[in-house]
């Protein structure tokens, strides 16, 4: 089981280690700096951190020695924006989309057969790929130039963004991407062409005629089962969805208590029927239901869910778990999640019981075992 947790926060990266006395914060990396995303790359042991400096832009750093030292590497950069292009490609409320890196919202390792390959999801919606551990980056132009991008919307933030990149462990050219808001995009040729026509996902924030158009969906987070990559779980803006055919068709799981709203989802690495969510009340009331922090777990592919609350605050708790703030380790037994109000909990038994690791961290943006 993983014995280390990395937590990216608004004010630093926290390294948390499990020793003889239990879990403890060992070190704060980049103290006071805003870190939006982390990636421990299990292929070569590298650790990547994306810092978002309010004034100086987004910077990527890599450690090749477990965090003892860091080296700034190249940040993804958008190519030169064609003259007048921003007059045509705007957000739906009229703001021009400039070709500038605003946020690194996802970092994912390529397949085991692609050492050094990284994927990076960003705001304002560009998907970047590196083939050399972040020395150089290339914007995926087939997606960026797709006419459908004109219809992309922001979800939560003004600009559209890519928050989920799932590389099929059996086929590195098969990549599933989640965009808020542009639904699920799937490539099977390494990014040369994209499919954005999955069926069954439903948005309740558009006119009914458009409710099932994939291109307007707001998947908050996509999780792919490593043992069965055709099984995908989505925590969506207005529901929970599951696909068993690689995203061609989606089934909505209705009536999940206490709520189907939330941001995060993870799936058991060996059991495609087991997944976890951290629910909040609903879109317009982004607080835990009844002020009680809970995790929901299904073991039967979404037919039934169990609400897990042992060890979690059950009174006057207002913690929200953002989309990258829930993780499961390689065994599927150990889970960790962090909150907007700086709490961090770990479970060593698939969520049956939770232990508080921290209560006063900065707002947490990403947690990763590594």
């Amino acid at each position: 089981m993983s014995k280390k947790i990395w937590a990216a926060t608004r004010k630093g990266v926290f390294e948390i280690v499990r020793g003889k006395g239990g879990w403890a914060i060992r070190k704060v990396h980049f103290p006071a700096q805003n870190c939006s995303m982390l990636l421990p790359d299990r292929r070569d042991g590298a650790l990547y951190a994306a810092l978002g400096h309010g004034h100086f832009g987004v910077k990527l750093h890599r450690s090749d020695n477990g965090g003892k030292s860091w080296t700034e590497i190249t940040s993804p950069a958008y190519p030169k924006q064609p003259e007048g292009e921003d007059a045509e490609w705007k957000t739906y409320f009229g703001t021009a989309i400039r070709w500038n890196l605003e946020l690194v919202w996802e970092l994912a390792a390529g397949g085991a057969d692609e050492p050094g390959v990284l994927w990076c999801g960003t705001l304002p919606g560009g998907l970047f790929r590196s083939k050399d551990r972040g020395k150089t980056w290339e914007l995926n132009m087939p997606m960026w130039n797709s006419p459908r991008r004109k219809k992309w919307m922001g979800g939560g933030m003004d600009l559209p963004g890519i928050h989920s990149v799932c590389v099929n462990p059996n086929d590195s050219k098969h990549v599933t991407v989640g965009i808020s808001c542009a639904g699920v995009w799937i490539t099977k040729d390494g990014g040369k062409s994209w499919d954005n026509d999955g069926k069954g996902m439903r948005g309740d924030y558009v006119p009914p005629e458009q409710a099932y158009l994939m291109q307007g969906q707001d998947p908050h987070r996509i999780a792919q089962c490593p043992a069965d990559p055709n099984v995908l779980w989505v925590q969506h803006h207005n529901g929970i969805f599951r696909s068993t055919d690689g995203g061609a068709n989606w089934t909505e799981l209705k009536g999940v208590k206490p709520s189907v709203f939330g941001f995060a989802v993870v799936v058991h690495p060996k059991d495609p029927k087991t997944a976890w969510f951290v629910p909040a009340e609903k879109d317009e009331r982004r607080v835990p239901v009844k002020g009680q922090v809970v995790v929901t777990r299904t073991r039967d592919g979404g037919k039934t869910f169990k609400t897990l609350r042992k060890g979690l605050p059950q009174k006057h708790a207002y913690d929200i778990c953002f989309r990258h703030c829930l993780d499961v380790d390689e065994t599927g037994d150990r889970l960790v999640f962090g909150s907007t109000t700086g709490s961090l909990w770990v479970s060593e038994n698939q969520g049956d019981r939770w232990k508080t690791l921290a209560e006063h961290l900065p707002p947490i943006y990403c947690v990763r075992f590594g």
Binding site: G54, H55, F56, G57, K59, S75, W99
Partner: protein
């Protein structure tokens, strides 16, 4: 030759002592500075080469006007200050 001075807050991220460079415009001066310190460029300019949204540049007493082209003229003994704006923190 213009003297370019950078906000102290930038020093924690990238080494950037005051630099002297020739140039008729802010762009020309900065590009010569970046030629000797390429990592500094991305901290000050965005992907399109414009001044970052929450940065300011003063040329002597004047705030930079052309934030995307950086075409503001620079005198032979100008003092250029690269500062962070109060916004964006």
């Amino acid at each position: 030759m213009a003297r370019v001075t950078f906000t102290d807050n930038l020093q924690q991220h990238v080494d950037c002592p005051p630099a002297d460079a020739h140039g008729a415009t802010v762009r020309e001066v900065l590009e010569r500075v970046f030629a000797g310190n390429p990592r500094l460029r991305g901290y000050i300019l965005d992907d399109q080469g414009a001044l970052r949204k929450h940065m300011n540049i003063y040329v002597d007493d004047d705030l930079l006007r052309d934030r995307s082209g950086l075409s503001d003229p620079v005198g032979p003994d100008a003092k250029i200050y690269v500062m962070q704006a109060l916004s964006g923190g």
